[in-house]
Symmetry: C2
Subunit: 567 residues, 2 copies
């Protein structure tokens, strides 16, 4: 491998020159925190080429029923695949190579000693190059995402393509910056009176070791690439264990990473895909392996807590959260409920940032100085959801399909709960997919005193309307939910600067970002790379924090060396 | 309190102007990493004033047998004190106010809501001011340190005074920089084709909550102030729980912090001293209290591991380590053994950075091209220690006294172990202190195969000479000890660039800094603020890592807020 590296030194140097500007611009964007995007989110032919969508669809279809042969991981020990389309409710019948945990770890450990010796700049350049290759497959990834997650096409394209690539670039930029933030070498010279003590010093950012990245079923690339690229840029090889139901989108990304690695003479096992054999889940065995030093995880709370409890690992999690909306006052209630209805309906609430608990004071909401009664606010919200869902030009495209039957079941089960139903789920047809698993949002009313009703995440298109004494109680309960059960987003509507300040203060203590007074084309669910920090670790929802400095610096250790210098 | 803050706003602003340059210079030093010191280490009258030493001694003596009344913590619930001088082997009879855990926590929580609203710059300015006040008491702190730790006067002055203050400034600078590294506000503007989506965004570094700082008996300020100031600058009030045998030095520092806080209208309980009542240790009760979110700890491994295992806390530890010396080759063996003898003898090896395991190849060490046999190297080292210890002008001043009788006992107990004694401890008299508890270094020889003999920290003046097959085995064993049992320093002597590279690589993987070929006036035990990272978390010796960015950013959470902006 050493020979291969030296043969490829010149090519690698060229690659660093080629991507240096992108990297510098991305580092700059991290600190500016205004809008920045390297990968355009609009799936237009003007940007991505005529016929790119059709070609991507055909590539996706061409993979159905076949073995995924693109990976450079040699000698598969088996083949497995369990994906099925929420739109077709049929199996994709794609199978992926499988490997034992021992094989994965042994190959990862070998790759570690190659990858850790590649400089941070070279690693960053290789990883940026992999994103450029990924860009060429955004449409294929989009169709793969649709038919594994149930997201509508536009979200599939944006979330799994350009937005994910931007999140990956953000992690690369942050990792590159942190590793190059201190001098590599320095002469330390201490005046001692008659002479100077002089030491040559050097510092290395030493990677921690093998990383494991555990993906989820609803955002197979968006939630996977930040941890994956953060570990890679800091010199740690990764084993990516996707959710068995959402493999193809990330398999395509990993195939591109492996191809770039191989082109530059590096071991493709620096980035391995680890699919569970059909009859055996391997995540626990992988996570507990002593060679695994870093874990990135998106998914349920119980498994996340188990991972966080493992000794000797650095663990980044994104778990369940209970997201709140606080309604106090507004200028235009119609615009407010339209915005909220969209947030609720978008991908049928299957987002970690989707709102769930809507706190509304018993005496209603102040709208342009007038008090609108509680019942009217609730009805307006329900009507807005109905209007959106039943609009054939919008409904199916916003809702998408339900990824997991259990989510559908959860929506139905609620009818037997203690809440008063405000809006039941209704049949929505998707003209393009007659068999799509669709489920429109349900609204239930509960009282603020019925805390057990709203103290957990009800993943899916489920909203709870919680009647509170006043906004002070709404804030208190939203904070309590976030502190005790976690929260990833919060939306608040108020025209009162003092209440706004109070919400910022109280939700800030609960480590929860707040979007105020959103109306129009921006939603509480959305999270912009290079500007919005995601998760950040201030409450039980997790500590994945892409991408603030903590997300990358915990992946390596600073080690210093020193030696007397000639005077 | 709010009124008090507004009354003091102008004064606080002036203070930020006054200390801004110091702060900026310190931030710059963090990134230059060459020699920087704000507080001169030389205890000379030219710097600290004529009679400063004598005045400090008198202040120290004036405190003996009395209550320590300087703190601004109201209504003590008791008085306690257990300090005794290793030089006099007599009690100091100083008593400190004690408080119940509930009182300490309640006051800390109240102070939290004051302190977290003070800006990072203002907090930094207040803390720098407290170091300026501390500077005026360096000599008093030095004598207090001598008579609690047993350090010789010069080390007491330097380690507890200027070096500690520099370490505190380093933490302040790093914390200030990290909290101001991203914009406080920004307009995020996303082009949408026909219009721009425009959001006003702001971000806050939200402190985690109450911090607990647990001090050790040998470095009562040097090991305490980094965590204490790191928590404080990031907005977290602290409760400082010193070792019962080493209170006075840090009590003086805390008294100065409290006075500055009070002068600027802030609650002095932002920084509380928590001394154990004589009949009750309170560290566990404090650490387990759910209000405590941050813990800094220096001390034994068992208690450190217990703290690291507590749920819902961010914990920084400095625990035991097994530090190695790797002897391969040198230009001048005499200079090498003199340097090592000093490192072993300095403060009788009661330093976390003191060397313990000396790996020497069975076929000896190459010196200026000639092979010096193993036995000769060992004898030279023993002779160098004897020469230093028995030099009346140097010995007592380098050795200091033994802080804890158990350390003395450990030295004696080893005589009954399996090692072959190369050098036994000898009586050394300190002309100034006839009753001083003194114990010179012992050297024991063990074979590389007797791993259980050298796999733990033997705190105190104890060196194990380990005969290895060759340097490759020395490196392998030094790495294994660091990885399995922790290490905070490593010294290596080699004239072979390839071996040097190999040692850097292997000890780097073990997260252990390496000093190469030290001779003359610089020792493996020494650790320079603003240049050398300390501990850094790469092995079981701890993760206190003062001061790299990780040491401060884990003490707060980034939280973002956003709202549509007028177009």
């Amino acid at each position: 491998m050493k020979e291969a590296i030296s043969q490829n030194t010149k090519e690698l140097e060229n690659l660093t020159v080629q991507h240096r500007e992108t990297l510098n611009r991305a580092v700059q964007a991290l600190h500016e925190r205004t809008f920045f995007s390297q990968y355009p989110e609009h799936p237009s032919p003007a940007i991505y080429g005529e016929g790119a969508d059709q070609a991507g669809l055909e590539q996706y279809k061409g993979q159905l029923g076949k073995r995924f042969e693109e990976l450079l991981q040699e000698s598969p020990e088996g083949w497995a695949g369990q994906e099925e389309s929420p739109y077709e409710q049929e199996k994709l019948n794609i199978s992926y190579p499988t490997f034992s945990v021992e094989t994965l770890v042994a190959r990862g450990q070998k790759a570690f000693h190659v990858w850790r010796k590649v400089s941070p700049l070279e690693r960053a350049a290789i990883l940026v190059e992999s994103l450029e290759r990924m860009k060429g497959r955004f449409f294929e990834i989009a169709h793969a995402t649709m038919h594994t997650t149930g997201q509508a096409f536009l979200m599939s394209f944006q979330a799994s393509g350009p937005h994910a690539a931007d999140r990956a670039l953000e992690a690369i930029a942050a990792g590159y910056e942190e590793q190059t933030r201190f001098p590599e070498t320095q002469v330390w010279e201490k005046p001692m009176g008659k002479f100077n003590l002089k030491l040559n010093k050097s510092w290395k950012a030493v990677p921690k070791g093998l990383g494991l990245v555990v993906g989820c079923s609803t955002f197979p690339t968006w939630n996977t690439v930040p941890g994956m690229y953060a570990s890679l840029v800091t010199g740690n090889p990764v084993i990516v264990k996707p959710h068995p139901k959402g493999v193809l989108p990330i398999a395509i990304v990993i195939a591109e990473v492996q191809k770039v690695l191989a082109e530059y003479g590096l071991d493709p096992n620096i980035c391995q895909l680890a699919v569970d054999p059909d009859d055996k889940l391997i995540t626990k065995e992988l996570a507990e392996h002593e060679a695994i030093k870093l874990i990135d995880y998106t998914g349920g709370t119980a498994f996340g807590n188990y991972l966080e409890g493992l000794k000797g690992k650095t663990v980044f999690t994104e778990k369940a959260g209970v997201n709140s909306i606080i309604l106090d006052s507004a200028e235009d209630l119609d615009k407010v409920v339209q915005n909220l209805a969209f947030s609720l309906t978008l991908y049928s609430g299957q987002m970690c940032t989707a709102p769930q608990n809507f706190f509304i004071p018993a005496n209603g909401v102040t709208v342009a100085g007038e008090q609108v009664p509680y019942e009217e606010v609730v009805n307006k919200l329900a009507e807005a959801v109905k209007g959106l869902v039943n609009n054939p030009k919008a409904g199916p495209h916003v809702l998408g399909a339900i990824q997991n039957q259990l989510t559908q079941q959860r929506v139905k089960d609620l009818e037997n709960g203690n809440g008063r139903s405000v809006l039941t789920t209704c049949d929505v047809a998707n003209p393009a997919f007659a068999n799509a698993r669709i489920c429109s949002p349900v609204l239930y009313e509960v009282d603020a005193t019925e805390k057990e009703q709203y103290s957990q995440e009800l993943f899916g298109p489920i909203a709870l309307i919680i009647k509170t004494k006043d906004t002070a109680e709404s804030i208190h309960l939203a904070q309590e939910m976030a502190m005790q059960h976690g929260a990833i987003s919060c939306g608040a509507y108020t025209t009162d600067p003092a209440i706004k300040e109070e919400i910022m203060d109280q939700m800030g203590l609960a480590g929860t970002p707040v979007s105020f007074n959103l109306t129009g084309g921006i939603y509480v669910n959305q999270n912009a790379s290079f500007s919005d920090f995601h998760v950040t670790g201030g409450n039980p929802a997790g500590n994945a924090s892409f991408t603030n400095p903590e997300f990358v610096i915990k992946r390596f250790t600073w080690v210093g060396f020193r030696e007397p210098a000639a005077n």
